[in-house]
Amino acid sequence: MTKYKKFFIKAKEENLEALELTIRKSSNFSFSFFNNEIDSYKMSDSFKISARGIYNGKIGTAESEKFDKNTVDYIISRIKENAMLLDNEDKPFIFKGSKSYKKKNVFNKKLAITTAQEKLQKIKSLDIKVKSASDLILNVETQYHEHAQEYTILNSYGLKLTSKTNYALVYSSATANDEMGETKVGFAYRFISDLDNLNQEEFAKEVVEKTISQFGSAPCASGKYKCVFSPSATSSLLEALLSNVSAEQVQKKSSLLADKLEQKVCSSKVTVTESPLKKNPFFRYFDDEGVATYDKTLIKNGVLKTYAYNLQTAYKDQVQSTGNGYKSRGKIGIELVNVAMKPGRLNKEQLIEKLGKGIYIDDISGVHSGLHPESGNFSLIASGFMIENGKKDKPVSLITVAGNIFDVFNDVIAVGNDLNLQFNGYEVPSILIKKIAVSGK
């Protein structure tokens, strides 16, 4: 860490009260096959230093991907200039450190030492399996992404923390044309720590099944339906709901969960936890302010148990930071890591059976535009299946589901046990809800 000493010396010379550096070194390796031929291969190493400093009683920030003889001057001068512009009343924080940290080794050595050649062979074999699983499949693309990162935080109070993580993601998508000549796309993905543990046959079957099962899909009649949301759909809706847990949103009067602590905000079937210390690709044992993270229950049997705090918002509410301070473009915002919903007893089929007559929503999209976290209202394009007599029936596409996220989570009748880790880091099951407005034919 001696190469970062210069920053702290300069900060002192320039009368900064405190300085914090975070250094992110990452490397990526990815490739993809298209119809069994390799068509893309990528590798990279990158570095970013991100600094926050207290000057004149305010926090100034600057970041740089360049590290040369001018970087120290650039960072310190920008911090000073930017701090002078601020005029909010927020108390600035650079953290002295938590009492203890639950550091774990989550770096997967086997993944790191497996040769590129071996990874290529295994993914090619998977791509071939998907392509040959059905004559109906026209195109297959299979991708492998591996990411490794070392994240370090250093500050002028002597705090020094490092975390090293890596993971791989395998993703495969297929297209096929149905009898009407309509193109259908299906995909599947897995976060993996060991390529040998991926069941290729099962994975290939899932991709193909997801594609072909959509043949002949059409909008259903508009109306209110009893409904099961898949883990993927549930995770998108839950993420929007939990954006209201941010203490910053609450303090700035734009959270729908303001003044709702210890009150029932969801159905009693809903229990949601945040487990940053869970050993998976999203593991964090300290947040971007250096506060030790810990596992906690956010919503217990429908009752809101806590808001998520960083140092600044915690100070305002006279509580402790919950270790949820994460940085974006210099600013410490509030985020949740490794959110999970407590599973129920029924598997997906049993949940559908319990549903009886209604609709299974497999996929929703357009969340970034069709869902307003501030109001909780959403109207989203969706696809899935009709459910008749407790069994999957005709495929449905080009419909919208609309409502309010709070109504959805209030209307939960049952929670499945089919936990699934999603792209957004949420590990959630399917949920059965009383009703949802569907717009179709």
Partner: protein, 467 residues
């Protein structure tokens, strides 16, 4: 950023195992973000992006890598690592590099780095004040400003060197209104590839602020949007996001080349109503999505995508062009050196027609007027799209009546284009950030007011009641 000699060395290392093309893309970008929350300056951040991407092509295969280490050692190591993915003999060698002269469009008259930040802050505080004072239901405002100054250099095995300077600035205004337990948010975000002159002379940010607050407050009194199929009049400007999502993405060679787009193999065929013509134009001076050259060094162009309903052109990059037997048409873009470039939109819009917006509304017995659109998304393979209506109104008997909330428009790109039955004369462009495989890039969307005879509208207000 690097010498010609070093560029040649790196290109020759990259091609030693048989690549038929190699390219080095270097970038240095200074970005500044300022944000004012409820009238107080909350953040001001400087960020320096710096790095190089190297791409190798061999037939239909591409290899890409990037690094922040733009020293001879760092670049040669990357080129060497990348070349290891091919196992053949050298087939090309770079012996010289010639600098290609570019146009000098999109250059700022009042550069951001020489304009005092205090004055930008002042402008944002004023706009916040305008929003806050508009109505007592406004509970929170944010006003932000971001600019970046980017220098790009490209060297390739065609023995060419290109460079471009790109400066853009954008303001962001958000008004949050709350009343009786309801919260409505509205935003606007004007920007251009120009300097401060755009904000000082060409637009009035306070006017945007007032419109933003007006719309947020207006939506508080909105009724839930009815659902079902109905005629939809889509407002000009950002309404063009419909064309961007429903059609533009499916015309990118990224999906067309592999036969993964609904419009693959449809050139010369009718894909839209005959009153629809549309272009992608990267040459408009100072426009949000413009450039002198694209990220492969090709000159940007005005590409006529659809001519009177007939598919005329795709957006093509050199690499995907190999599968299509077409050359790149200036449409190759990327967010930064961290992304492999591919075909993308720049400023994409439907050309104006003959109707006035008033005529279009008056000719609609019942339907939805989507005055202001939010974002959306599309699956290029199926052409299925969805997007949100930020500010919508019911049209009843040719007149605009109630504001409605929660409307989403969904459908398939190929149907909606064929169902456009009126095109207005009030073309306007608006700024957006477009995300796809080569990252987030600035892109203008645009259109005149148009009417689509039938779109599925999703909403919570139940079935349409046509009485």
């Amino acid at each position: 950023m690097i010498s010609k000699k070093l560029a040649m060395d790196v290109l020759n290392i990259a091609t030693k195992t048989g690549a038929d093309f190699a390219e080095i893309y270097l970038e240095e970008e200074n970005s500044v973000d300022i944000s004012v929350d409820n009238g107080k300056v909350e953040t001001c951040n400087d960020s320096l992006t710096y790095g190089a991407g190297i791409r190798l092509l061999k037939d239909l295969q591409s290899v890409y890598g990037y690094t922040n280490d733009i020293t001879a050692k760092g670049l040669k190591k990357l080129a060497n690592d990348l070349s290891a993915s091919f196992a053949g003999e050298r087939i090309i060698e770079v012996k010289t590099i010639k600098k290609v002269k570019q146009g000098k469009k999109n250059q700022p008259r009042i550069p951001y780095d020489s304009y005092p930040r205090e004055k930008i802050v002042e402008m944002l505080k004023q706009a916040s004040e305008v929003m806050k004072n508009y109505d007592e239901s406004i509970v929170r405002t944010t006003a932000s400003f971001a600019y970046d100054i980017k220098k790009v250099s490209i060297f390739n095995t065609d023995e060419k060197q290109f460079s471009d300077a790109r400066t853009k600035g954008r303001a962001g205004l958000v008004a949050i209104a709350s009343k009786d337990g309801k919260i409505e948010t509205f935003y606007s975000a004007p920007g251009a590839q120009k300097g401060m002159e755009y904000f000082l002379e060409e637009i009035d940010l306070n006017k945007f602020a007032k419109e933003t607050a007006t719309s947020a407050v207006m939506m508080l009194s909105a009724i839930d949007c009815p659902s079902g199929k109905m005629p939809v009049v889509i407002g000009n400007g950002f309404g063009g996001v419909i064309f961007h999502e429903a059609c533009g993405h499916s015309l990118e060679a990224t999906s067309v080349a592999k036969g993964l787009s609904v419009f693959s193999g449809k050139k010369g065929e009718k894909i839209a109503s005959s009153i629809v013509s549309a272009v992608d134009d990267g040459t408009i001076d100072g426009a949000w999505g413009s450039g002198n050259i694209d990220d492969e060094g090709n000159k940007t162009q005005r590409n006529l995508l659809i001519k009177n309903g007939i598919l005329n052109s795709y957006l093509v990059d050199n690499f995907n062009g190999r599968r299509m037997n077409e050359k790149g048409n200036g449409a190759t873009r990327r967010q930064s050196y961290k992304f492999e470039p591919t075909s993308r939109m720049s400023n994409t819009f439907i050309l104006p027609g003959k109707s006035t917006p008033e005529e279009i509304i008056a000719n609609t017995k019942y339907g939805l007027y989507a005055k202001s659109m939010g974002g959306g998304s599309v699956s290029p393979a199926t052409g299925e799209f969805n997007f949100a209506v930020n500010e919508g109104y019911l049209i009843q008997d040719g007149k605009i009546t109630h504001p409605v909330r929660g409307a989403t428009l969904i459908g398939s790109g190929k149907d909606i284009l064929l169902n456009i039955d009126m095109v207005g004369n009030d073309l306007k462009r608006a700024q957006g950030m477009c995300g796809s495989s080569s990252g987030m890039i600035p892109a203008d969307v645009g259109q005149p007011t148009i009417r689509v005879s039938e779109i599925t509208v999703g909403g919570t207000g139940g079935e349409i009641n046509n009485d």
